[in-house]
């Protein structure tokens, strides 16, 4: 049912240190990879069926193969460790518990695309994670896994840990590149794609932490091993992150295609005395789903077939004490705050969305406001450079689709019918604000 691979060493003593990681077989895959031709490493990752774990699900090996090797410019690998999609909390614990899994993946992946410099762009708001990444890179350098002529292979690589400074948009890959170049983090128009003109205008691969961290296991155990897990088009194991109103929230590493019903069961069920109301399959930018979707396979195709997206597998679970209008307003405020301001529909539209939702939550809206909201969403989605705008409209349109009555109840009631204390974790402990 569960298949710990990435998380398998997390209960080891000092699992973040090189010695502990090597006791668990760490850096064996690097030795294997360095005896292979770079192109064969790309092929192995292609054959494994690994798809990007940052949300989009693009095949990782295919992304690598887009790097034009006849281009004389330097090639770069950039790890997107800017985990900040609301609900998403898998990369941070991975890097905290086992930064070497990522570092080993970085070295193998950089070797595959023949990059001589790799960057780990980690959000700035996670001090201890940054400490452990710094230390892991230093340990790997001292052990000869990073530097010149790595393990006698003739391959040279430098790895730089780079802390961001608080901007959700920098999780968007082209905005991340601008930020890494020391600029405001604003998305670029594509094409050209980063594989052709990325960091400093050079061929660049950008991958999510979990994608890169999955590479050592694939090289070590083989593409067939990886693709023996999961479903037809969504291969391998992955980290599912359960949060919210379940008995035991946390990280659950399982094959692609497990259902939320199974995961909630593993997590001890919905908190006692309550029922599931709605959930997000992969962060706030993925349209929310309800109890009728509990048996949908959590893979790219399954979640897509019910009108949402697998995203980052950030399963935020909300029970019947949660006001959906409050939840959606808060997410919308987030998108408003994080819109980089480059594209007008997103910059202006998110402010309008917040104004209308505020009115609705306070019971001062009308049914016409719902029509306006949906009309606005139509004018925002798909009309900006990046997907932030699309993400901003996802919770609104999906919540109106599933919970229109609750919006209506707000203005029939003259305000929110929910008690905000009832939804808290300390509601039953008798605590109060």
């Amino acid at each position: 049912m569960l298949t710990p691979v990435l998380s398998d060493n997390w209960d080891q003593i000092r699992s973040w240190q090189l010695a502990s990681y090597q006791r668990s077989g760490g850096y064996d895959a690097l030795r294997t990879a360095l005896r292979m031709q770079p192109a064969d490493v790309v092929t192995a990752v292609k054959d494994s069926g690994l798809r990007g774990r940052g949300g989009a699900g693009f095949p990782t090996g295919m992304k690598w193969s887009f790097i034009p090797q006849d281009n004389p410019k330097p090639k770069y690998l950039v790890v997107n460790a800017d985990e900040s999609e609301p609900g998403t909390c898998k990369d941070i614990p991975l890097m905290l518990a086992s930064p070497h899994t990522l570092v080993e993946g970085v070295i193998i992946s950089a070797y595959a695309i023949r990059a001589s410099t790799a960057f780990i762009y980690v959000r700035g708001e996670v001090l201890h994670v940054i400490r452990r990444l710094h230390q892991a890179v230093e340990e790997a350098k001292a052990a000869g896994f990073i530097g010149t002529d790595i393990l006698g292979s003739g391959y040279d690589l430098d790895v730089i840990v780079h802390a961001g400074a608080g901007a959700y948009i920098c999780g968007e890959e082209t905005a991340l590149l601008d930020s890494l170049e020391g600029r405001r983090g604003q998305p670029r128009l594509r094409p050209p794609f980063p594989a052709v003109a990325g960091l400093y205008g050079c061929p660049t691969v950008i991958n999510n932490v979990e994608s890169i961290a999955s590479v050592p296991a694939i090289i070590k155990n083989g593409a067939d091993w990886f693709s023996s897990m999961g479903t037809e088009k969504s291969k391998g194991m992955t980290l599912y992150s359960l949060s919210g109103h379940v008995a035991r929230p946390g990280q659950y590493e399982a094959p692609m295609g497990i259902t939320l019903r199974q995961l909630i069961d593993l997590a001890g069920g919905i908190r006692e005395g309550h029922e599931m109301k709605f959930w997000t399959p992969g962060g706030s930018s993925t349209p929310l789903l309800t109890a009728e979707h509990l048996d949908v396979p959590l893979d790219y195709e399954g979640v897509g077939s019910v009108g949402s997206m697998l995203g980052t597998k950030a399963l935020q679970i909300f029970d019947d004490t949660t006001c959906v209008v409050r939840a959606v307003l808060r997410w919308t405020e987030f998108y408003k705050h994080e819109s980089c301001g480059k594209c007008t529909p997103c910059r202006e539209g998110t402010w309008w969305l917040v104004q209308i939702l505020e009115r609705l939550e306070h019971g001062k809206g009308t049914e016409e406001d719902l029509v306006t909201l949906l009309d606005l969403c139509e004018n925002i989605t798909g009309r900006s450079f990046c997907a932030l705008a699309d993400g901003a409209t996802a919770p609104i349109t999906s919540s109106i689709q599933h919970f229109k009555d609750e919006y209506l109840a707000h203005f029939e009631n003259g305000g929110c019918p929910f008690d905000p204390m009832a939804s808290t974790v300390f509601a039953t402990a008798g605590a109060s604000a």
């Binding site: 700035g124 940054i130 992150s241 990280q251």
Partner: protein, 282 residues
């Protein structure tokens, strides 16, 4: 905006901030460290974000002098550096206290109690969002998602995690910080000052990576269940070709070697003399 300052919802952002206080702490050492940061990258400008973190560690905020120093080192104009500094939420124009206390009020944490915690702390500390207590100890700010949703409601102190908070544990936490009591993050190190934290973010490690556990209860929830029920991933490729590889292929037994913490429920990894998770682990 002056007429706004008398309204009750007025925040620090409505009040003017001096362009320069004239007592910059930036020295030749700072400039040398900025040059060292720039030298780490293929193109120096990539060091601008780390350099601005360094400015904050020296100045306690992003000062005009700090902006000019970055500009000089990178060959940019002050306006170009300002344009970057004002884009990112972590860069502060007003002095930050010794402890930057963040409360996540994004949807999941808000619903799980973050909103009530933030309200309680505003009352308790008598400050608004993005304001600092009069003793200069604590700057309170509400945060967007900090990637720890499985520990909601979440707070951050100088960008270290504080998990599963309640209004009571939150007020206790800020009281401890103000009184100078040593405070440890349940998934991190002993709390340092905000300026010290900013120096690490700039790229100058403080040697404290080994403090704290591998993860908290939620991080290990799935793994513990798998151990309990003997669930594993399929076994991988055995043998590995040539001699060098033989030693590199680890059998499940070998990999399980020194694994004293397999027993479900037993905390592992705190290792060092540091106390076990002091706060929330049960």
């Amino acid at each position: 905006m002056a007429e706004n300052s008398s309204l009750s919802h007025a925040t620090a952002t409505d009040r003017p901030v001096p362009y320069s206080t004239g007592d910059s702490n930036i020295t030749d050492t700072t400039i040398a460290e900025m040059r060292a940061l720039a030298a780490r990258y293929p193109v120096g400008r990539s060091a601008l974000l780390p350099m601005l973190h360094l400015v904050q560690s020296v100045e306690g905020r992003v000062t005009p002098e700090g902006i000019e120093a970055c500009a000089e080192v990178l060959g940019l104009t002050g306006a170009e550096v300002s344009a970057v500094a004002t884009f990112y939420t972590m860069y502060k124009r007003r002095p930050v206290g010794d402890y930057h206390v963040g409360v996540c009020t994004n949807t999941l944490c808000a619903v799980m109690g973050g909103d009530l915690i933030f309200e309680r702390l505003k009352q308790h500390l008598d400050v608004g969002n993005d304001e600092t207590t009069e003793d200069g100890k604590i700057t309170l700010e509400h945060l967007e998602c900090n990637a720890a949703c499985d520990y909601a409601p979440v707070m951050m102190v100088n960008w270290e995690f504080f998990d599963d908070m309640t209004p009571e544990s939150a007020t206790q936490l800020v009281d401890d910080l103000r009184e100078g009591t040593e405070v440890k993050s349940p998934r991190g190190a002993t709390i340092c000052t905000w300026r010290e934290a900013e120096r690490v973010l700039a790229g100058f490690p403080d040697g404290r990576a080994d403090e704290g556990p591998t993860g908290g209860k939620a991080t290990l929830a799935g793994l513990r269940l798998a151990r309990e029920r003997n669930w594993t991933a399929p076994s991988g490729r055995q043998g590995g070709g040539d001699g060098a590889a033989a030693q590199t292929t680890v059998s499940p037994e070998a990999a399980a070697g020194p694994r004293p913490s397999d027993q479900p429920g037993k905390e592992s990894g705190t290792g060092s003399p540091a106390t076990p998770d002091s706060r929330k682990e049960d």
